[in-house]
């Protein structure tokens, strides 16, 4: 087993453990944004798609790189945007009890 593979496996295992540790503390109120944020983080596959495109020299390689880049771009950009949109809705209670007039629709 090469040294680089061994270090990659170590990184993988330790990251898994860090993930378990960090995420088990997230309250269920935030589970949807958490999942959406995790979803955006695996958008890092865009880096993989970029390196693939850099190594491509054949038509097949270009086609695969194009689809991979489009998929990954959608994943990462859309994922972060929608996570942020959700999280900005989570508000603290207003300090003085807020009047309902602006929300009345009757």
């Amino acid at each position: 087993m090469s040294a680089s593979l061994l270090s990659d496996i170590s990184i993988f295992l330790l990251s898994l453990l860090v993930g378990f540790e960090v995420i088990s503390k997230v309250p269920s109120t935030l589970h949807t944004p958490l999942m959406s944020a995790a979803n955006s983080i695996h958008g890092i596959v865009l880096v993989g798609a970029m390196l693939t495109a850099a190594a491509a020299h054949t038509t097949v390689g270009y086609v695969l790189s194009f689809i991979a880049a489009a998929f990954a771009g959608m994943n990462v950009v859309g994922g972060y945007r929608v996570t942020d949109r959700m999280l900005q809705m989570f508000k603290r209670p207003p300090l003085p009890p807020k009047g309902g007039t602006d929300q009345d629709r009757s």
Partner: protein
């Protein structure tokens, strides 16, 4: 190590740290948004460093740049547009869709690498590359079709009920044989493109046969599981191309998905294996025709329900799937504001699987401007039910059924909200039909429960209007 590769490696390290800290900041609603922004900044650094690296190396062709630029911009445009326009009720579909493309991209990275390596004369691909390649292709392909199908089910394009076709077990066994046999063949050092294609197709098909028999109510578990799988696929892609950023980020997501899957399965009282095998509540042992409930129920109109709510000093609202389906989050928020103005103590009791994905109900209520301090988790709110003058159940069924506390029912052992311990219970429900488990809800026949049969949206609007006219 050259300067440029040192710089990119450091950039990846910064990105990885920002992902971990970003996830850590999601421990509280107050800091969660900052966490997500930090994580996106880390992502931008990783991408910028990669661009610099590619440009410096100079191995990329002009066509490569064009392909990369056009692909990323196209994907980013589509993603951004859907993220801006999506309705909060449809978030589960969108998350599933993003998950699908992420898994697909991970599989494509490995496939492109395989194609490139087999295109040049060389010794056979070493096992340390071949093993993650096969794993990445298999897991990525399963999540791609599985997540697309899950999104289709959530969107209503594919029926949400469990779809079982005859011979599905046999088909699954055949697919497993192709994947395992092909994988073993490739591991042995024979890098045959046709074998990888067969493995890819079998994995794509398995994604479909895996999700097809799973019912709509099990979706929170399935989405979490597919999320974990995509993370793992991305980590495998990292092994294939030797990139630590992908390995770390993929492992983090894999861990998060695994935890959520376990939490959701526990909250539904199901084992993960049981959900994946499917067939729960499909009606074989139960009688779905017997929708009429045994025992007497008491019906109530909007006016009487309004009076009770108006004079209650502590109200606990229990929103369920029916509220999400009727998109009544704004109506319930208005009612809560009105009751608060009248001096009542109002809180929301949220079961972990309320909604269509983990925590979905909280997002819907946040959208309707309900402050997150009013949203109470099950363990936090259960001791408060005995003090509640009125518990208002809206479109929630199985998660309130006291039968779960007894042995021998379809939901025995499932964690439930202790609604039956409130002093008085009002249930807003469209019909007397059964919940997903297909059994009678004993809460409805409890002497202190009254049923207000109405659609969640119109029922809540009527209640709010009645409180205003009757008691000012």
């Amino acid at each position: 190590m050259s300067t440029i590769s040192t710089v990119t490696s450091l950039a990846y390290l910064v990105a990885a740290a920002s992902f971990v800290i970003g996830l850590h900041l999601m421990n509280s609603p107050a800091s969660a948004r900052r966490g997500s922004q930090l994580s996106s900044a880390g992502m931008a650094i990783a991408v910028a460093a990669t661009i610099a690296r590619i440009a410096y190396d100079g191995l990329i062709t002009p066509t490569g740049w064009a392909v990369l630029g056009a692909g990323t911009l196209l994907g980013a445009g589509v993603g951004l547009r859907s993220a801006y326009t999506i309705k909060m009720t449809a978030i589960p579909q969108l998350v599933s869709l993003f998950n699908a493309v992420g898994g697909g991209a991970a599989a494509l990275v490995a496939i492109a690498d395989f194609v490139r390596l087999t295109g040049v004369p060389r010794a056979s691909i070493v096992p340390s590359v071949m093993v993650p390649t096969v794993l990445d292709v298999v897991i990525g392909a399963v999540t791609f079709t599985g997540s697309l199908l899950a999104a289709g089910k959530l969107q209503g394009w594919v029926p949400g009920r469990p779809l079982v076709f005859p011979g599905v077990r046999l088909v699954n066994i055949l697919l497993a044989v192709v994947v395992l046999g092909g994988g073993a063949y490739l591991f042995s050092g024979a890098d045959n493109g046709w074998v990888l294609t067969a493995v890819l197709l079998a994995a794509l098909a398995f994604g479909v046969t895996m999700v097809l028999p799973i019912g709509g109510a099990d979706m929170p578990v399935v989405i979490s599981m597919l999320n974990a799988l995509t993370g793992t696929a991305v980590a495998m892609a990292g092994f294939v191309i030797g990139n630590s950023a992908l390995i770390i980020a993929g492992a983090l997501v894999g861990a998060s998905g695994a935890i959520l899957t376990k939490l959701m399965a526990d909250a539904m009282n199901r084992s993960i294996a049981n959900i994946v095998v499917g067939g729960f509540g499909t009606g074989d042992a139960l009688d779905p025709g017997a929708a009429a409930i045994g025992g007497d129920i008491r019906q109530i109109g909007a006016a009487d329900a309004a009076i009770q709510l108006a004079y209650a000093s502590k109200v606990i609202i229990v929103p369920g799937y029916g509220l999400a389906a009727a998109q009544a989050q704004h109506e319930v928020a208005q009612l809560a504001v009105l009751l608060q103005e009248r001096g009542a103590d109002v809180s929301f009791a949220i079961h972990p699987v309320a909604g269509r994905m983990p925590g979905h109900m909280n997002v819907l209520l946040a959208e309707a401007n309900v402050p997150y301090t009013l949203l109470k988790e099950m363990d936090e709110i259960n001791p408060e039910f005995p003090q509640a003058d009125v518990a208002l159940v809206i479109g929630a069924n199985d998660v309130t059924n006291p039968a779960a506390r007894r042995a021998g029912t379809a939901i025995s052992g499932m964690p439930i909200l202790d609604v039956d311990r409130a002093k008085h219970v009002i249930v807003i429900k469209r019909s007397m039909g059964h919940g997903y488990a297909g059994i009678d809800n004993e809460l409805y026949t409890d002497p202190k429960t009254e049923m207000f049969l109405a659609d969640a949206k119109t029922g809540l609007a009527e209640l709010t209007a009645a409180i205003k006219t009757l008691v000012g």
